[in-house]
């Protein structure tokens, strides 16, 4: 029972990351009709926003270390600590959550620049060419990041107060040994918040209504005198922000390195396809579903029964879904059917 609960939480957690990336992917596909292989790179850039922000906060100066008295020793002391004392240290401790503030404008800008600079020229080209050019872009972004941050994963710790584990066993009246890292719970709540706000934005605002109408019949919305293009550019920016935020908050869970984007890209593409291209609900549902499936498949009981299933379950599900239900779980009729 405990093991199942833990796996369920693990699955939800993984699924939350998949769902956030897939949400952006499918949003871009549904509105702009572009297959964006650089979306994983946006996730990675988000994680590196956290890294950069942390680095900026901890810009240090060499000062004499008074605790060592035999000789003059030096230590690195962040400016923030010198200027603000304990408040400064607290700000540094909260680097990851605070970097969200930086990540939103940065990712929005990157997204808009990407759409205006490159993607826009590829609306009329074939999907294969879109895949190729964004694949090239992903390589470029990845290599630029490697140039500046190196090839090794950079540990980006969560704030001290949530670095321990939550005693969920005690809360639920189960065994006291049942604990789960706080940060992962926070990540789950955060993803739920982001997903809800994206849906609320699309369902409750006029802008969202136009976007939904545009996804449904782009030409007609254009005839009504609405500049669909501009709205869609903003949608691309939003997708970039969502992917970026997913990356920022994931940094404490998985120390960011330059190729984390590619690793997540393949999975989130599979998620999008399983959910149905261009279906937002499908992407979220499939994200959580596949995340949970993956973590249950990695339980020892299952792997003893079918060895290796944990490695392939997601892809296997994708293959089966694509063959039996080409539209995915919730795909609309007429989307991407040659």
């Amino acid at each position: 029972m405990d093991a199942i609960l833990i796996q369920l939480l693990n699955g939800l957690d993984k699924g939350a990351a998949y769902a956030l990336i897939a949400l952006g992917l499918t949003l871009v596909f549904g509105t702009l009709g572009v297959v964006n292989f650089a979306h994983g790179a946006l996730f990675m850039l988000g994680a590196f926003c956290a890294v950069t922000f942390q680095k900026i906060l901890t810009i240090s100066v060499k000062v004499v270390d008074p605790s060592i008295t035999f000789f003059t020793a030096y230590k690195e002391q962040p400016y923030l600590e010198i200027w603000f004392g304990d408040v400064g240290l607290m700000i540094i401790d909260y680097a990851v959550p605070l970097s969200i503030l930086m990540a939103i404008p940065v990712m929005l800008l990157i997204g808009l620049a990407m759409e205006r600079g490159l993607i826009r020229h590829f609306y009329k080209r074939t999907h294969a060419e879109q895949i190729l050019v964004t694949f090239g872009l992903a390589i470029v972004i990845q290599e630029v990041v490697r140039h500046f941050f190196g090839a090794n994963p950079i540990p980006t710790p969560a704030p001290d107060i949530v670095s321990s584990s939550a005693a969920i066993g005690t809360w639920l009246g189960l065994s006291d040994n049942l604990v789960y890292p706080w940060w992962r719970l926070i990540y789950l709540a955060f993803s739920a918040l982001i997903i809800t706000s994206v849906f609320a934005f699309l369902q409750l605002t006029t802008f969202g209504m136009i976007v939904r109408a545009g996804m449904f019949d782009r030409q007609m919305v254009g005839f009504l005198g609405i500049n669909v293009q501009r709205k869609f550019t903003i949608v691309f920016g939003i997708a970039a922000v969502v992917a970026g935020l997913a990356g920022v908050m994931y940094a404490p869970i998985l120390p960011p390195d330059y190729h984390m984007g590619m690793d997540f890209l393949v999975l989130s593409f599979v998620v999008v396809v399983v959910g149905g291209m261009g279906s937002l609900g499908g992407a979220v549902a499939a994200g959580f579903l596949l995340g949970i499936l993956q973590s249950f498949a990695s339980m020892t009981i299952v792997t003893e029964f079918i060895p290796g299933i944990d490695q392939v379950i997601i892809y296997l599900v994708a293959v089966i879904i694509l063959l039996t239900r080409p539209r995915g779980l919730m795909g609309r009729k007429g989307v991407m059917e040659d």
């Binding site: 060419e129 392939v312 892809y315």
Partner: protein, 373 residues
């Protein structure tokens, strides 16, 4: 007419063989004349030619061809371990097994087209890669990679000779497959592969594949079932990849799972696109450009750059070195990515299309006839 066609094919093949075999001579001034690089040219040439038969002719973008490369390598190394160090059985087994795996992957993946096909092949690539690292470790030797050991049975070799000391090297009836002889073996394979590709391009089969690319629906309305043609193209290109994988093992008898990662498939896509997809020579040109530049760019470091820019004033030298250094050495992949993007954006037909455009421009200037005459 037919005879003429045959003769021109023969001429093409003769010219091609001449160019390939004389590579050690004419690449010498370019600083690319060493066996390791020459072998790479030939091996990746075969890989790209095969990939082009699928992607170039039918337009099906596969991200799974690294699977067959990996299968080829593993099979070849197993053949070296169990049967004989002779390369002939290794190559044959690899091609056959890669063909079988390709038949399976292709049969499933080709049920969908467009981006769904790409993602299906991507899913298969990841599946094989993950399995090679985990459950299939007894076959693939996991992260260490599959290598020759002293305890290998090598049953056929044992019939003729006793086990020597140290690890044996791959051979073709006594001729060691390292250095230039290895290259010539790969070159012969490359020429055979090119011949098959040439035949396919000019055959009714090739024409049908091209028809699938230009309009599959119309093709179906004409009464053709396109699936068998697509599957044949997929299997053939898979076998080419298997051959390339086997040759990798021939020139260096070890195989690792990283050969099967989907980014390895991405590399062959890059080569094919860069040279000119769907053309006969394009993929080879792409391979030559990428492998040659890779060789040069990765070797350059800051000291070399400093030396290169010595003719400039000191401060300008430093600026130039600072500007160029991210793109060389470790940063070679950045250059590759940029190059690839530029080609896809401006020259979707690759370098070959670029040549044709230049040629057209010049021929237009020469005779100012109105178009359509």
């Amino acid at each position: 007419m037919v005879l003429e066609k045959k003769r021109s094919d023969l001429m093409t093949m003769l010219m091609f063989s001449l160019v390939v075999f004389s590579m050690p001579i004419w690449l010498d001034p370019l600083g690319a004349n060493y066996p390791d690089l020459l072998q790479k040219f030939a091996i990746f040439g075969i890989f790209a030619i095969g990939y082009n038969i699928l992607f170039g002719l039918t337009g099906y973008l596969s991200f799974g061809h690294a699977i067959f490369l990996g299968v080829g390598s593993y099979t070849a190394v197993w053949s070296f371990k169990l049967l004989s160090m002779n390369v002939i059985p290794a190559v044959i087994f690899s091609v056959v097994l890669a063909g079988i795996v390709a038949a399976f992957v292709g049969y499933v993946s080709l049920r969908r087209s467009g981006i769904y096909f790409s993602i299906l092949t991507l899913a298969f690539a990841q599946m094989f890669y993950n399995l090679a690292y985990s459950v299939l470790t007894p076959i693939t030797n996991g992260e260490t990679g599959l290598q020759l050991t002293l305890e290998d049975p090598r049953v056929i070799d044992r019939l003729f000779t006793a086990a020597g000391e140290g690890l044996p090297s791959t051979e073709l009836f006594g001729l060691s497959m390292s250095g230039y002889s290895g290259f010539y073996f790969c070159a012969v394979m490359l020429i055979m592969a090119f011949y098959i590709s040439l035949k396919i391009f000019n055959s009714p089969f090739g024409l049908k594949l091209k028809a699938i690319k230009s309009n599959q629906h119309r093709m179906k309305y004409t009464g053709y079932n396109t699936r068998p043609y697509l599957l044949s193209a997929f299997i053939i290109s898979g076998m080419f990849a298997g051959l390339a994988g086997a040759l990798m093992a021939v020139t260096d008898p070890l195989a690792g799972a990283e050969r099967m990662q989907w980014t390895a498939s991405g590399e062959v896509v890059l080569m094919t696109i860069l040279g000119g997809v769907g053309t006969l020579y394009g993929p080879l040109l792409g391979v030559a450009i990428i492998k040659y530049l890779e060789n040069i760019f990765s070797a350059v470091n800051e000291a070399v750059l400093q030396a290169f820019f010595t003719f400039l004033p000191n401060w300008l030298q430093d600026v130039m070195v600072m500007l160029v250094s991210p793109f060389v050495g470790e940063g070679w992949h950045l250059t590759l990515g940029l190059m690839f993007m530029i080609v896809v954006i401006f020259l979707p037909g690759g370098v070959i299309e670029g040549f044709q455009k230049i040629k057209k421009r010049f021929s237009k200037n020469n005779n100012l006839k109105p178009e359509g005459e």
